[in-house]
């Protein structure tokens, strides 16, 4: 085991003085040393469910939920201690050496990872409770919780990673559990295809992650983040030479997991999975892994001599994602897909925040978004549970039937669109304000691009949410089911999440509280960023009216009418067809890359293999066979002629003689005795 990072802590104190941000950190004591339990418990529980789940009284739900409750409580305790005194700890066990590199499993306990432990634990616990109601009677109830627990374990492996290898392991584990859960209803090939799409898109992006990790590890001579940073800051690495490429490659990996343009295509399809999956994985936690990666490597992306130049790309990609992918939510009829595109768009906000150097703001949005977006998904799940359809055209007027769902959904919507005083208001405002600050200090194209699209994005977010809420909850019910409020086991988690969605924003009110900033900036290496003294009032007065206008326009355009179809009839020519076809990006991947690869390219390779590469041996074999045949002909007709003639004579003689051979032993014996007698007689005579 590695000792705690005492030298690093001293060093950190020194550097943090420089950055002007005072943080004291201890090593967390036994609490941090035992934090590996957070990772191990869900993983062990996964195995337990696989082997004993079906026989256990709660069919695996109990074990899975216990695991999440454990993580939530442990995370909360860690968070509390972290706020009191700060925790910086890194533990590891060695699992092998390869050349000069030590491979390790380990666990990092610092502000960033504690925030993720807490988030995964709390949201996970609430979603698991909800899933008991939602998944009731499912064909693969136990299997579902096993995969879900595997996901939790993988996610915790990821966020606890002190090195790139473990990060990759966790990264792929959440990927495979995502695949399993998206394809949960695998009887239908559509769901399997959605799972494959998610896996493959991520796998493509993972090429970036692999290459980035390789470049980084080989340049710095270690997989450990702490060593990489240390060498980076002390200038003992060739990382500067490759910094841009390593940063870019790792960012490509992050783009895949966090569904950034142009790797966003998998996330909306991933909604084929059960709704709790969409809430926990595809909204709250798994998709934030990319943001987490950039945040974990923030010092690397921050320094101009390393990957500083990548920041502009991150900001631009984030801005494109947050604006243009938000647009796609406008035309979706499936309520989960509306929320999915909304998630993509919000992930764009977080990524863009990282790009403009707003570490805390990005993570703050990650934090609040986890609550309000999983709330919205679970609310949507509750609705779907009631009307047995994903489509908003089958909904309407549900406000009256499902009050608890409606009110919690409203809180979630308020948070998502950024209305005062809900959580999203604070976090989104912080991002835009940080972007504005960066743009005003260092007016680059990327920064301004990000600021303008962020403000535009706020409008779009409010607009599509107004449409979704209006079509779902207002007007008259038009479907054919009998909507009813969901059971307590589902509404209680909604209320829990709603509480967070409503109040989490107060953790970080600029100039008033800085709990969240103090929380996540407890890092072994200083996070240098700007923290505003107070709210940027001019921005608030620009953004909030924009949101209100968008909400009003949205509600008015999609106001209750005779039929749902009539309500949803609003379109903008040229643009809407473009949105409906998702900017033709999916089509391009399918027809431009996948089909040609699996079709002509693969078939062609196989044809070449069988007809050209294999032709040499086959032809050689063929030629050998022909030569052999020729030799054989000569042999048969010429050489063999002599022998054949001789043997024909022998054969004829034998044919005659064999008539004497009856197969009776005694006859043979008599004949041989006769022979002996004759020979004896001859001896006697002569």
């Amino acid at each position: 085991m590695l000792a705690s990072l005492t030298p690093l802590v001293t060093r950190f104190a020194f550097l943090s003085e420089e950055s002007g941000h005072e943080v004291h950190a201890g090593d967390g004591g036994a609490l941090a040393q035992w934090a590996w339990l957070i990772v191990v418990v869900p993983v062990v529980i996964t195995f337990l469910i696989v082997f004993f789940g079906k026989k256990s009284p709660l069919k695996g739900w109990g074990m899975a939920t216990f695991g999440m409750a454990f993580v939530a409580v442990y995370g909360a305790v860690l968070a509390w201690v972290n706020l009191q005194e700060g925790i910086l700890y890194e533990g590891a066990i060695e699992i092998g050496k390869i050349g000069p590199f030590a491979l390790q499993w380990g666990w990092v306990v610092d502000g960033l990872s504690i925030m993720m432990y807490f988030l995964v634990g709390v949201v996970g616990f609430l979603v698991f409770v909800y899933a008991k109601g939602y998944m009731k009677g499912d064909v693969r109830y136990t299997w579902f919780f096993a995969s879900f627990s595997l996901f939790a374990g993988g996610m915790l492996v990821l966020v606890s990673a002190p090195n790139l290898i473990q990060l990759i392991v966790g990264w792929e584990l959440v990927g495979v559990s995502s695949y399993l859960l998206i394809a949960h209803y695998w009887e239908d090939f559509d769901n399997v295809d959605a799972g494959n799409k998610a896996f493959m898109t991520n796998k493509v992006a993972d090429v970036g992650l692999f290459i980035g990790a390789i470049i980084m590890a080989l340049s710095a001579g270690s997989f450990q983040f702490s060593e990489i940073f240390e060498k980076m800051l002390s200038g003992q690495t060739s990382l500067a030479q490759f910094g841009f490429w390593a940063g870019l490659a790792l960012f490509i990996g992050a783009m895949g997991k966090s569904a950034q343009f142009p790797f966003h295509v998998w996330l909306p399809d991933a909604m084929a999975g059960p709704t709790p999956v969409s809430a926990l994985m595809h909204a709250a936690t798994m998709v934030t892994a990319g943001i987490y990666l950039v945040a974990r490597l923030f010092p690397f992306y921050q320094l101009p001599e390393f990957a500083g130049n990548v920041n502009a790309i991150i900001a631009i990609i984030g801005a494109i994602t947050l604006f243009f992918m938000g647009l796609l939510a406008l035309t979706q009829d499936d309520i989960k897909k509306v929320l999915a595109y909304s998630t993509v768009s919000q992930l764009g906000y977080m990524m863009a925040a990282m790009g403009v150097g707003a570490y805390s703001a990005g993570l703050f949005h990650l934090f609040t978004h986890a609550f309000f977006k999983s709330l919205l998904f679970l609310g949507a799940g509750s609705v779907i549970h009631a009307v047995h359809s994903n489509n908003m055209s089958d909904m309407g007027g549900l406000r009256k039937y499902m009050p608890a769902t409606f009110w919690t959904f409203m809180i979630g919507t308020g948070a998502l669109v950024g209305l005062f005083p809900f959580a999203g208001f604070w976090s989104k405002d912080e991002i835009i304000a940080s972007g504005y600050h960066t743009a005003s200090v260092d007016p680059t194209f990327a920064a301004w691009f990000m600021v303008i699209l962020s403000i535009g994005g706020a409008f779009i977010t409010a607009f599509y949410m107004a449409r979704a809420v209006s079509l779902t909850f207002f007007g008259d019910y038009t479907g054919h089911a009998h909507p009813h409020e969901s059971p307590k086991v589902m509404t209680l988690p909604l209320m829990g999440l709603a509480a967070f969605a409503a109040f989490a924003g107060f953790l970080n009110v600029p100039g008033v509280t800085d709990v969240f900033i103090r929380w996540v900036t407890v890092r072994a290496f200083p996070i240098v960023e700007h923290h505003a003294e107070g709210l940027n009032w001019p921005l608030v007065f620009i953004v909030t009216p924009i949101v209100l206008v968008a909400l009003t326009v949205g509600f008015w355009l999609f106001r209750p009418k005779e039929t749902q179809a009539e309500r949803d009839a609003f379109t903008i020519p040229v643009l809407y067809p473009l949105f409906e076809h998702k900017f033709y990006i999916d089509d391009f991947y399918m027809d431009g890359i996948i089909r040609p690869t699996m079709g002509p390219l693969a078939d062609g390779t196989l044809w070449i293999d069988m007809n050209i590469v294999d032709a040499v041996p086959n032809l050689a074999g063929g030629a050998a066979k022909h030569v052999a045949a020729a030799v054989n002909t000569v042999d048969q007709n010429v050489v063999d002629g002599v022998f054949n003639t001789a043997s024909a004579g022998t054969g004829a003689t034998g044919g005659f003689l064999r008539k004497a051979l009856t197969g009776r032993v005694q006859q043979y014996a008599a004949m041989s005795f006769a022979g002996v007698v004759i020979i004896a007689a001859l001896f006697m005579i002569f």
Partner: protein, 101 residues
């Protein structure tokens, strides 16, 4: 010492054995007859060894050798006959003509 009784005994044994080999249908009896023929040879060998007063007693040594050989031969023979019987439920040698042609 006369030799004639021993030669007659040998001739009689050999003839009986030869008769058995040529006429019996049961393979076991055929084998027994073969033994008789061998016994006849042994009698002759011992008798002539003593009669001729061979100093090296080659005849008696040859007899011992033949006894061992006969034992081995009858062992293999019986084994074959038993296997044949097991396979064909019969030890009748008239039916054993698979080696014809």
């Amino acid at each position: 010492m006369t030799i004639i009784q021993f030669v007659l005994l040998g001739a009689a044994l050999f003839s009986i054995g030869l008769y058995g080999v040529l006429t019996r249908k049961n393979a076991v009896l055929v084998l027994a007859s073969v033994e008789l023929m061998l016994a006849a040879v042994n009698v002759n060998l011992v008798a002539f060894d003593v009669y001729l007063g061979d100093a090296s007693h080659a005849g008696q040594i040859m007899t011992l050798f033949l006894i061992a050989l006969a034992a081995a031969e009858v062992g293999i023979g019986i084994a074959i006959v038993l296997l044949v019987f097991r396979n064909r439920r019969s030890a009748n040698i008239d039916e054993l003509d698979v080696m014809r042609y």
